[in-house]
Symmetry: C2
Subunit: 208 residues, 2 copies
């Protein structure tokens, strides 16, 4: 059985949804970020990065959302969560998730995690100030150049959908008007109707 | 035939090396970053991100180094550039490259590309000041928790090796002493002895 380490309101929601989508055999372990549990020695012994999501598999630990999502898709082919038989289409799925991880999520992190890149309070305030603009630009590139609709890659749901949805849930908190990215807004609404998405969100908010 | 869009001294070197390693049928197109060619309409029509590497394949464009590297490995299985038959080991390769893309490369970018996240000159100066520390911390995590040696995953060369090498080439420019990460320093030295690495570096520095 796999074990997903997560914290509520983090990008670990995407992996959680994908595990349910896959029909995977898994359990979860919640970390309390308010108590900085992710930086304590017990968790660092599991994941030296001190981050979630982290997925404990039979063969060892796996981190980084794009890798976890692709692993879930590859090990549960019957769930059809990625175009596994077409290397180009599979690479496009990786490309999409890589962009969310290394550009969109990074843009978002300059709001609440500015201390990663700056110590000076005024510089951190400047990163926080510019963050909504950078996040919006990143979402606009997704909206205009990548998103097919109704799902990310068209009619077929993939591991890109829960990952995009997870970040779209943070639009208002990032001071970005969802109406600026109407396709992503509508995708978020559609995703919220899915039973698996609701199940993952409810499970993450329960104590455990 | 594939076409690799690149600029010298960028992370596109990794894809270039991997194409040679794979024995791929490809050509290259150099962009002149000093002339901002990557932001001009001709290139934006090819890659709306305005970034390199970008790999034009028969089926369309591919961007994001981790996706490009995995695509090269998957489409050239005889080159044995990734553990394609083991989903967990393949995911570990993705995890490694995802970390370089979304943490190590991002840390580096706060030096010369601070304008992505800040407008204020003092804030940009602060990002530049802290950059070497953040880059070092990221390399140290690779050195201590990920790198097996002599190659990233042990005795077997993978698509993680040219990607790590590419960033290790920037250590001095990022004001990080290579002796702080001796395994990565030695890996860089070993990589520089490889004919394919020398071929890619020379090709990128030629006019085209």
């Amino acid at each position: 059985m796999m074990k997903l380490y997560y914290a509520p309101h983090t990008c670990a929601l995407a992996a959680h949804i994908a595990l349910i989508d896959a029909g995977a055999n898994y359990e979860t372990q919640k970390l309390d970020f308010s108590q900085q549990e992710q930086t304590k020695s017990e968790f660092l012994a599991i994941n030296p990065k001190g981050r979630v999501p982290a997925l404990l598999c039979d063969q060892g630990l796996l981190s980084e959302s794009p890798a976890i999502l692709s692993y879930i898709a590859q090990t549960h082919p019957r769930a059809n969560l990625a175009p596994l038989d077409d290397p180009y289409k599979f690479a496009k799925v990786q490309e999409f998730n890589a962009y969310l991880a290394s550009t969109l999520h990074v843009a978002h992190a300059h709001g609440k995690r500015a201390e990663r890149w700056a110590d000076d309070p005024q510089a951190k305030a400047e990163l926080h100030r510019k963050m909504p603009q950078v996040v919006l630009e990143s979402f606009l590139l997704v909206e205009k150049s990548m998103f097919k609709g109704p799902y990310v890659w068209g009619e077929h749901y993939t591991i890109c959908d829960p990952y995009l949805f997870t970040f779209a849930q943070w639009l208002e908190a990032d001071s970005v008007d969802p109406d600026m990215v109407p396709k992503i807004r509508d995708h978020r609404h559609m995703m919220l109707q899915r039973q698996n998405v609701q199940t993952a969100i409810k499970a993450q908010l329960q104590s455990n």
